[in-house]
Symmetry: C2
Subunit: 618 residues, 2 copies
């Protein structure tokens, strides 16, 4: 079959999570880890100079390279320790990622050896041995409890008072108080301090991910993800807002759906961990502004109308029961703070997780979806904006575009001809966003697309265009088109093509993001060359190949090694907020201090946008 | 008909409430007011020396007496002003009670002329004109609101955020924030500051009373009362505790019932006032400890078991919706603090309303029901106790005892023979508690009962016993009995009698209260003669005739004029807590500082009790 890759993807298993991922041979191990949602330390930008990304390859470790020898001891090399940025995946591997190598988590998690790190969960437990009552000590159960807590100004929640009499007597007046923010949430008989769990959620428009965390150790016990159950009411944020605003029961329906989604993920995680939700006392949530509002049952109607104002910006604590979230009946939900109508708490969480708000180095964080959310800044100043990339990267409005699901081409290169991998290893049914970028980038490189974005007819292509590629260019109904997969291969029946219009759609998408970035940098007063890093967040960002992204001009022009994948940084930020009250406060300060730049109000946006739609020369 | 009174009860109408009450001719007007739940100032104890109890009799004012002339001006006398303690009701009257004359309320209510008095409700309203959003001011609705409130640290409740977007836009960014305790409860479009209402409740085991109050003026807009809908599950506290503890759904049933009772009273008050419950934002509740617990859904099981410990003592704020109380969906419920397992928030409210906790004068407050709750003290020290009077005063265990309902004899005197009044003016069916006291006191006076409580056979009665009374004494199945109503009169068929056993039951009841009072005074170190006042609270206390109570030795031996009726002081205390946060704090301090004396733990109680069961000599 012409065009299919000759080498099959190989599996890499990451421990201790046990997560596996399939990658093309030759993929840097650090990138494979990113695809598995595990983000590694790489302050040098993956150049092999800092030695921070060391991992232990317990199966099929390749021979050490020069950088490995420079940074690792003999015994380490013998055990299979390697620098992940310098190691290319060639065969199936099993890789152990030490805590110290993890980008975010080492700051907040206890390592396997019990090294203590700041763990300050909102919900804490206190075990008390109380004196039993008698005729000489007739204090109320409440006074007895508060006496045992020895903390001023604590008030028990009604639920705690309801649990109190039985819990005290069941445990012979030995009981555990579950406390949060000056309130006693509940009382449990005996010593239950060992069981204190939480769930962190990243609610995306398309996907919802939840992490079950042990709050006594900081360890992740389970992860589960589901498609956002609101999808039947619209693929994107705008159609969900429309549904919520125009149907009498719309808001309630969407709220119920997303809560049900969370509940299923909680159940799923509990099943993995082998216990019930009784000892889960807190849930933290990051999501885009519309998702947070729908989750809370607050109408997002006005977010979508000029002047694009959201009802809620700050973080909020809500009783889980008031939302229908099924954890402990007196548990809490904390929704992280939004920044603006189109820059949500997921972006706040990205900044929190990246640490860019504390660094002197100027960085640009980008989360690409239907909207691109961008934040530029450092410890002194932060500016955010949102730019409507449109759904091209998610496969919509592209003739053969599709989501990154089974049957989607997800990676594509041009050698003498087109080579690609297909998710699930099936017959290709379409192109997902990353492959669209790959294809356009590669067609640019071989000269089949010119810098204005025109797909050239075969006779206009330059000499460097490979013959097989030239042969795939043909006249379609609406101008030139490029045949990706011949009819015989494609399950779609006819040939799978990239049309001129597809290229234009992708130019609009990448132009919007590039223009947003350009204006943000201009506003901040920084040249691309002075950016320390560009941080690519989110599932999509994780899969974009940096070289391809640079070639189409999606990102500001910085050396490839300064582009870092920071994985599901929104999820990581939500986890941090769960693990530490201080991180919650930090998130609030990030939201408070981040300036929001409304692109719709900028006279220069249209001009930047027009420029940014062009592809970089040569 | 021998024994029936020749003069009918007459009606007295009190304004501006419009409450009417039926009393026997000759009743002091101040006592009639107490029966109507209106308590008047009377620092002199009703001796006509202080001149504080002046009222305006607008219809049928009797000629002024000497005391009236001493204290009132000519013009006042002409308008019908009289001292209520010196005026006897003879004919139907209409009486206007000025605010200054009211015992509690003048401290907290605005009078009709708008004199300003401290009104500090927990729930306050703030009207704001906010700048509308634009592309140059894209603050979230929340930030806009909090900016308008100009108060640090205020957090909006989820419900307020849900109401926010629509409310702001409906009112063109003029809106009213409803705030309480640093939280925004809700937002209303436009200026709604005029409508701010609350309900105060006194939840008794038998009766529930609710008051609808305008929190912008302090005025009472409506009052409604119902029988406690828990009665089908038991007449008294102990049987309700038993039901809650032994039936799987018992607690939930009792909670649901009482909440339903409150909701009906709220509806009833709203109907009287002519508006809905939307602008009622707070409910305050006083009740005995068991009633508070059942209302909150907290098991009272251990209150009834040694060492008689209650789960909850302190005050608590709860969302109305969490209890099912139907006021504004984001409204609050405040339950006043209890003192101990058998001294509830109703007693705290009595102390609050009486002001005895702030006075240098030593006072004894008594609330008589199935239990007698007693508090002795002053500004320096407060001690409370509870004593199991048993249900005799409520009509139980008395052969012809009954509650104060239609058909009950409620007042009784012996002249040459027995004279009485019957509630509802019907044929008598039984005796209520006050009439039981009257009867025993009168039989003691005429010598038909001796100081040990023995009902004498006719031949043993002294000379002073009237012949008609002697004729009513007869040998019954179990010793001597006294015929109150002959068979021909009583609807019960046979004769209505007072038995020896009835007298013993009443001795147990009065002995328990008198012994409790004696021990409390001993503990405090005060002689009865040094008590400034005895304050009789509650419906029953209000109806006891002071002279009769003294004669049977129910109360410590103080001059009659020092015994004051303080009406529904528990309800008055709940109203005060509704009107002012400071009163809530005061109630908390009262509960914190009141020492509780457990009589079950006192070696001397049995001895005091035995003594107290005796009647005072002549």
């Amino acid at each position: 079959m012409s065009g299919a890759v000759s080498h099959d993807p190989v599996k890499v298993i990451f421990e201790p999570e046990g997560r596996s991922v399939l990658v093309l041979p030759g993929t840097p191990l650090i990138e494979a880890a990113g695809r598995a949602g595990i983000v590694l330390e790489a302050p040098c930008g993956g150049r092999g100079t800092c030695g921070k990304c060391k991992v232990e390859i317990t199966q099929n470790a390749p021979p050490p390279g020069e950088a490995d020898r420079r940074h690792l001891g003999r015994e380490e090399l013998r055990r299979g320790m390697r620098l992940a940025c310098q190691t290319r995946v060639q065969k199936e591997m099993c890789v152990h990622v030490p805590v110290a190598t993890r980008f975010f988590e080492h700051k907040i998690l206890t390592d396997g050896k019990g090294r203590s790190v700041p763990l300050h969960p909102t919900v804490t437990k206190r075990f008390m041995k109380l004196p039993p009552p008698g005729l000489e000590d007739q204090r109320s159960d409440e006074d007895r409890l508060l006496g045992g807590l020895k903390q001023k100004g604590v008030t028990p929640h009604l639920g705690a008072l309801r649990a109190l009499p039985a819990a005290l007597r069941q445990g012979d007046f030995e009981a555990t108080a579950v406390c949060a923010e000056g309130r006693v949430l509940t009382i449990e008989a005996g010593d239950t301090t060992r069981w204190n769990y939480g769930m962190a959620f990243d609610i995306g428009t398309t996907t919802v991910v939840g992490f079950l965390i042990d709050l006594t150790t900081g360890r992740e016990l389970a992860v589960a993800a589901r498609a956002n159950p609101q999808i039947p009411f619209g693929d994107d944020v705008v159609s969900r807002i429309r549904h919520a605003s125009t149907h009498p029961e719309g808001l309630a329906q969407l709220q119920e759906r997303i809560v049900q989604g969370l509940n299923e993920i909680i159940e799923d995680c509990c099943r993995q961990a082998g216990f019930g939700a009784t000892h889960i006392y807190e849930v933290t949530v990051a999501g885009n502004t519309t998702m947070s509002h729908l989750f809370l049952g607050i109408s997002p109607e006005f977010i979508a109308q000029a002047p694009y104002v959201c009802p809620l910006r700050r973080s909020i604590n809500v009783w889980a029961r008031d939302l229908g979230v099924r954890i402990h009946p007196h548990g809490l939900v904390h929704v992280l703070p939004n920044m603006a109508g189109f820059v949500g708490s997921d972006t706040t969480a990205v900044v929190l997780a990246s640490g860019m708000h504390q660094s002197p180095e100027r960085a640009l964080a980008i989360d690409i979806g239907t909207n691109g959310e961008l934040v530029v800044g450092n410890k002194d100043r932060l500016i955010s904006c949102s730019t409507a990339a449109g759904p091209a990267f998610e496969g919509a409005r592209i003739r053969f575009g599709m989501r990154a699901a089974d049957g989607a081409i997800d990676k594509l290169v041009i050698t003498y001809d087109v080579e690609y991998t297909v998710i699930g290893g099936t017959t290709p049914r379409g192109l997902c966003g990353t492959a669209l970028i790959d294809l356009v980038a590669e067609l640019l490189r071989v000269g089949a697309i010119d810098p204005t974005g025109r797909l050239l007819p075969p006779e206009e292509t330059p000499e460097r265009t490979p013959e097989a590629i030239r042969a795939r260019l043909r006249e379609g109904e609406r101008g030139t088109e490029f045949v990706i997969v011949q009819g015989t291969e494609a399950s779609a029946g006819g040939a799978m093509v990239l049309t001129q219009r597809d290229v234009r759609e992708m130019q609009l998408a990448k132009g919007a993001i590039a223009a947003g970035a350009a204006i943000l940098l201009k506003e901040f007063g920084v040249e691309p060359k002075d950016l320390g890093h560009i941080l690519l967040a989110g599932a999509f960002g994780n899969f974009i190949r940096r070289s391809m992204a640079r070639r189409i001009g999606l990102l500001p022009d910085v050396p490839t090694e300064r582009i870092l994948y920071i994985g599901n940084a929104a999820g990581a930020g939500a986890r941090m907020a769960l693990l530490s009250r201080k991180c919650k406060d930090e998130a609030n300060r990030i939201s408070d201090r981040t300036e929001y730049l409304e692109l719709a109000g900028r006279a220069d946006f249209q001009q930047e946008f027009t420029t940014a739609m062009m592809f970089p020369e040569g």
